[in-house]
């Protein structure tokens, strides 16, 4: 199996799906000739032409809104939001329209579209190019929210998202784009939306995370193995619908739970996981559930010193694991 980075995996996923299905088109800012700011869509306009890879005006609301209408009319649009931070003007379209149309049309209409959005920090992008937005959208029934961590999962989940008959928010951690490499099979495969995956089995405590944080958690778990602590790392992969059985089974088995995300803590997605475990696996717990997230400040500050203070990192995660293991 060839080894590729996460960005290449997404590009391959887009390319292979577009080759198979003429209903698919891509719409976003500078996705065509420029190939997107991260170059995810590079080359696709040459292959599929300007009717299928469309440069949009600078207008996120209409990027998403037009894709919703097109999706209702027998096409399969993929909207690209250049940075997840810029999704706010489209919030109305995503939350009020895309998520609710199937339900309120009593099943008559569906919205088979994907919204790709690069998110996350650690790239010195400062306040408006570093945000994590998953909690806002994972709150909304009718949407699916996916956040892969590896090239294999990214490609497989993207294909599933494109084939899905519901609006799927596909979150790509931009620090993983070129940093994270992995093996991806040459044959056509899917990773289903929904199931989490145990990326590292362990006995002493369970860690739940997604995106870039999976890699930091794996690194931290590795560093604890030397001192005899066995950490299970569960990659949620999909935030909505959430794989509750896998979360509960792992929590019951190890009895100790750490939840890690880069998004700030209060009202973050970790709170939902913690509540589920407290409700349904309480008797199996040997320690309080621990959450580790970014600090509750309004946005990622620019200065490197402050950004470093903001980002969870392997050391910080390892420290939380150690404390929990010793509880």
């Amino acid at each position: 199996m060839p080894e590729i980075n996460l960005l290449e995996a997404i590009r391959q996923g887009l390319d292979e799906m577009m080759a198979q299905d003429e209903r698919i088109f891509i719409f976003g800012e500078d996705v065509g000739r420029r190939g997107g700011v991260f170059r995810v869509t590079e080359g696709l306009i040459d292959k599929y032409g300007p009717l299928r890879v469309l440069d949009s005006p600078l207008a996120e609301s209409v990027i998403v809104g037009a894709c919703i209408g097109a999706a209702m009319n027998d096409t399969r649009p993929i909207a690209e939001i250049q940075f997840a931070d810029f999704i706010a003007p489209a919030f109305n379209q995503i939350v009020q329209e895309a998520a609710r149309i199937h339900y309120r049309s009593n099943g008559d209409w569906s919205v088979p579209m994907v919204i790709r959005a690069p998110y996350g920090g650690g790239i010195h992008g400062a306040l408006y190019h570093s945000q994590s937005i998953e909690a806002f959208f994972a709150h909304v029934p009718g949407l699916k929210v996916v956040a892969p961590a590896t090239p294999y999962d990214a490609k497989g989940l993207l294909k599933s998202a494109i084939e899905d008959n519901n609006p799927v928010l596909f979150l790509e951690h931009k620090k993983t784009y070129r940093l994270i490499k992995g093996q991806v099979p040459e044959h056509d495969y899917r990773v289903p939306i929904g199931p989490a995956e145990i990326k590292r089995p362990g006995e002493d405590l369970s860690v739940f995370a997604y995106g870039l944080m999976i890699h930091y958690c794996l690194e931290a778990a590795q560093s604890l193995a030397a001192s005899g602590v066995s950490v299970e790392v569960v990659d949620l992969r999909t935030l909505r619908p959430l794989d509750v059985p896998t979360i509960l089974a792992s929590s019951r088995r190890t009895g100790k739970v750490l939840i890690v995300h880069e998004d700030n803590l209060t009202g973050g997605f970790g709170g939902e996981i913690a509540a589920l475990i407290a409700e349904h696996a309480f008797e199996h717990l040997d320690a309080p559930i621990v959450r580790l997230g970014g600090p509750d400040v309004p946005a990622m500050p620019f200065a490197r010193s402050l950004e470093d203070a903001f980002m969870p990192n392997p050391q910080k995660i390892a420290e939380a694991m150690r404390r929990l293991a010793a509880y």
């Binding site: 800012e29 440069d55 600078l58 400062a126 010193s305």
Partner: protein, 355 residues
Amino acid sequence: MVKEADVVRTSLADEDADELRHYYYQMLLLRRFEERTGEMYVKAKIGGYCHLNLGEEATIVGLMAALKPEDYIFTNYRDHGYVLGRGTPPGPIMAELFGKETGVSGGRGGSMHLFDAERHFMGGYAIVGGQVPLAVGAAYALRYQEKPGVVVAQMGDATTNIGAFYESLNLAKLWKCPVLFFIVNNGYGMGTSVAMGSSEPDLWKKGASFRIHGEQIDGTDVLAVRDACRRLRDYAEREADPVILDVVSFRFRGHSVIDSDRYRNPEFVRKGRQDHDPVRNFATLLHEHAIIDDAWLKATADQVEHEIQEAIDFANASSDPNIEDLYQFMYATEVANTPGPEDAIAAVKINRGEV
């Protein structure tokens, strides 16, 4: 671009020579500040996203020459020149780009998020269109409090395609707000040309359905920009009425310092830079009118070089922001149960593996 015929200026007779020389000095300061900023980026002194005003020197200096101290300015993220042009010293601006505590935003903002409250510079905004409604509100507040002044809503050409722009036009007219919608039309929003992104490429016409007067001006001619801004600014203030100025210039480089600009034809860029260089063209004009000579040009260049080197030295010598301040300024008042300096330090110690 604006046609040559529109911009020919036959006489500088009514102009104050010192003032003209000052415009040139300011334009060169902006030019060299941005070029050196690009260098500092390559040297990894500056990181993240960073957008330069190269090619927009006359646009900025012309605007600033027309504004009064009581006016307010909101801009997009391409903001270095506006702060400089408004009179903030180069040192704290460069320090902000370096992410230092002596920067105009204490290192928190970086290139795209400069502020200078004292000079009514209300910030650079990194969410496209984010600043436009705010400018309308600020102008309403001026009217409401019966204060003098206008508010400049600076934005790029591509920003005129986002919904917030139209909502702002509508409200500014309804509320009779003294706003100068100042469109820096450098021809591109990232890789998308005006014609590709806007069904009405004459951006000054975009106020028509809101009954807002609009004009276009050559943004590479500092005097033309100044005169248009003066006239429109005074009109907006006097009549409490918004106006649009579409200020056309040529973007010298890629969208940001890390944009390779591959989507533009290199020959087009080369020619554009040659024909529409506001700094060089103004030097030629002043030279022709014997307002400056080579010795003056040399001395001015040396002075600018010196000032910018000082700014870089200042930034280099400044310290990083204190980690203790991570949670500072979250709220404008004391708030119970919010983390403080100790929490920030604890978090960092763990990050550094010091626990």
